[in-house]
């Protein structure tokens, strides 16, 4: 009996490993090709010698026409994604708290409005939104403001606050704490797992946004890394080596961020199912 279990476990592990290898192969391929000499890119799966030439090209060594554009793009991505994620968390937290714990007259109206937007395909709004935000073209504000409110995030907070006993907040109020103080020193710590998941998810979505950023920020100086790489798909775009290197730089920060906070995930996912 014992032996049978072991064989089964080994089999499960083997199949898992094969599936995992398939699922992670593109990352292996991306990293390996980014480190190949340029005449060997896409020619081998196991490199014989490795070089940083593709990465050096991106920081301006070795004849890049616009030496700072890749670094600038990375910085732009950060300067757009970070504020967007922070604002989404702040607004989600404030609204989740007021809509489920405060009890005020506008509650029902705002909930109805949220529900309506939740199930509304935003593609309809694309052209008019562009017309409204056009005066903010090529600015960080133009990339941040129209995308800084996430209905999904607000609902995550509303549902989470519903599971927190109201007494926690009442006690603080009796002690004389103001609402902003309650938000900062009670609501935020209590919702730590939801806040982490919302922050990471919004950061990741913003980091990978393509359509809006292409529209609102056509100037190369203001492009995010995601958009800059996508513009190089044209026939006269960058060489494959640097494209792989740029893709690694685009992918790595997100993976590292998520791995660092992976312990919050399962809690969050099981919560999202409720």
């Amino acid at each position: 009996m014992k032996k049978k279990v072991t064989v089964k476990t080994v089999l499960i592990m083997a199949v898992t490993l094969i599936l995992l290898a398939i699922s992670l192969f593109p990352f292996y391929y991306m990293v390996v090709q980014s480190l190949q000499p340029w005449d060997m890119v896409d020619k081998t799966l196991v490199p014989t010698d490795l070089t940083l030439r593709s990465y050096e090209y991106l920081i301006g060594k070795g004849g890049a026409t616009n030496s700072m554009m890749w670094i600038r793009a990375l910085l732009n991505s950060l300067l757009v994604s970070l504020p967007t994620a922070v604002i989404s968390v702040a607004i989600g937290l404030a609204m989740g708290y007021t809509l489920s714990k405060l009890g005020f007259r506008g509650e029902k109206f705002i909930m109805d409005s949220l529900l309506f937007q939740m199930f509304f395909p935003t593609i309809i709004l694309l052209v008019p939104r562009y017309m409204i935000a056009k005066s903010l073209a090529n600015t960080y504000a133009g990339m941040i403001i129209p995308m800084c409110i996430s209905i999904w995030a607000i609902f995550m907070y509303i549902n989470y606050f519903k599971t927190v006993p109201g007494a926690v907040f009442e006690a603080a109020r009796i002690d004389g704490a103001g609402d902003l103080r309650i938000l900062w020193s009670i609501a935020l710590p209590v919702t730590k797992s939801v806040s982490t998941i919302v922050f990471l998810s919004i950061f990741m979505q913003r980091w990978s946004e393509l359509m809006w950023d292409m529209l609102i920020s056509p100037d190369i100086k203001m492009q995010t890394l995601n958009v800059l790489i996508s513009t190089q798909f044209k026939p006269m775009g960058a060489f494959p080596g640097p494209m792989y290197a740029a893709s690694v730089i685009l992918t790595l920060p997100i993976i590292i961020l998520f791995l660092c906070f992976s312990k919050y995930f399962k809690e969050g996912i099981s919560f999202m199912l409720k």
Binding site: M13, L20, D42, I110, I123, Y130, F265
Partner: protein, 298 residues
């Protein structure tokens, strides 16, 4: 009594103040664009010029005879079916495998399967573009060993499959997390009862596990349906919607019509048509989900 009044007033004030950013946002970036979109959909307009010509329902009528619109409409379902089925299959397989792993490595393996979901479609497209390039090691291998020369992204027979493959690769691990979480919430009493009845393997999967996680499965169904309608980045970068519109999507056609061909009024009409299709399809999927949940007692 007076204190109560003051407290109530303060509550109203705090409530409205903390929701004010959302309300302002909704006014400027939701309500106003919504009305504007319907108005634009009745105009002949090129995005830049000040002149708009009122054309009434003409844009909507033109949709019916537009091959791009027809392709987008049909492709939505062509994507939907394999994407939902394959994501479901792989998500379930991954979740079942991970749930049987030793507890020590369970968490990390689940997270590793989740990594493709985190990857920007642009980075994925870079890898896919070069990996399927004529001179890539992969195509050299096929040519030298099997005498096969396949134009993966320009041949209608393969380009669509590549797009579906990318989406399934990206999403399966994500949906697996949901399904895994469902499987793990099944009580030990249920598992013990199944063991007592001698239900194992496939029999247990079909008669115990799947019915027990029905609400999770229907959640995944709804999520995957929404996903299939949002496909954009990969066809935009890799095929441009071609060859012969075989990989195009609503998002791609709406973007190109409005911002590349500058038929912005027509693009707005197209967007409304796509929203109607999404709405009706989600309604049907929700209906089926509710029926399934009820049937299994949820």
């Amino acid at each position: 009594m007076k204190k109560n009044n003051a407290t109530n007033r303060r509550r109203e004030l705090v409530g409205w103040a903390l929701n004010a950013p959302y309300l302002l946002y909704s006014l400027v970036f939701f309500l106003l664009p919504l009305i504007w979109a319907f108005w634009l959909s009745m105009m002949d307009w090129n995005l830049m010029s000040k002149d708009k010509t009122f054309v009434g329902a003409k844009n909507f009528l033109d949709l019916f005879s537009d091959p791009k619109v027809q392709a987008a409409f049909i492709n939505s379902y062509r994507y939907l079916l394999p994407v939902v089925l394959l994501c479901f299959f792989f998500g379930l397989v991954i979740a079942l495998l991970v749930s049987k792993l030793p507890d020590k490595i369970k968490g990390i393996v689940a997270v590793l399967f989740f990594i493709p979901y985190l990857t920007s479609g642009v980075a994925t497209s870079v890898v896919v573009k070069y990996f399927f390039n004529y001179n890539s090691i992969f195509n050299e291998f096929l040519r030298n060993n099997f005498d096969l020369t396949i134009n993966w992204l320009t041949d209608e027979r393969y380009a669509f499959g590549v797009m579906v493959g990318i989406v399934v690769w990206k999403m399966s691990g994500y949906y697996a997390l949901f399904i895994l979480s469902g499987i793990e919430s099944i009580g030990t009493d249920v598992n013990e009862a199944a063991a007592l009845d001698g239900s194992t393997g496939l029999h247990k999967l079909i008669h115990v596990t799947l019915p027990m996680i029905m609400p999770t499965l229907t959640t995944v169904l709804v999520l995957a349906t929404g996903l299939a309608f949002g496909i954009y980045t990969e066809p935009f970068l890799l095929t441009g919607g071609g060859p012969n519109l075989s990989t195009t999507t609503w998002q791609l056609e709406i973007y190109n019509t409005s911002f590349t061909r500058f038929q912005s009024g027509y693009g707005a009409a197209m967007a409304i048509a796509s929203a109607v299709q999404i709405f009706v399809t989600l309604r049907i999927v929700n209906f089926v989900s509710d029926k399934l949940n009820k049937r299994f007692g949820f």
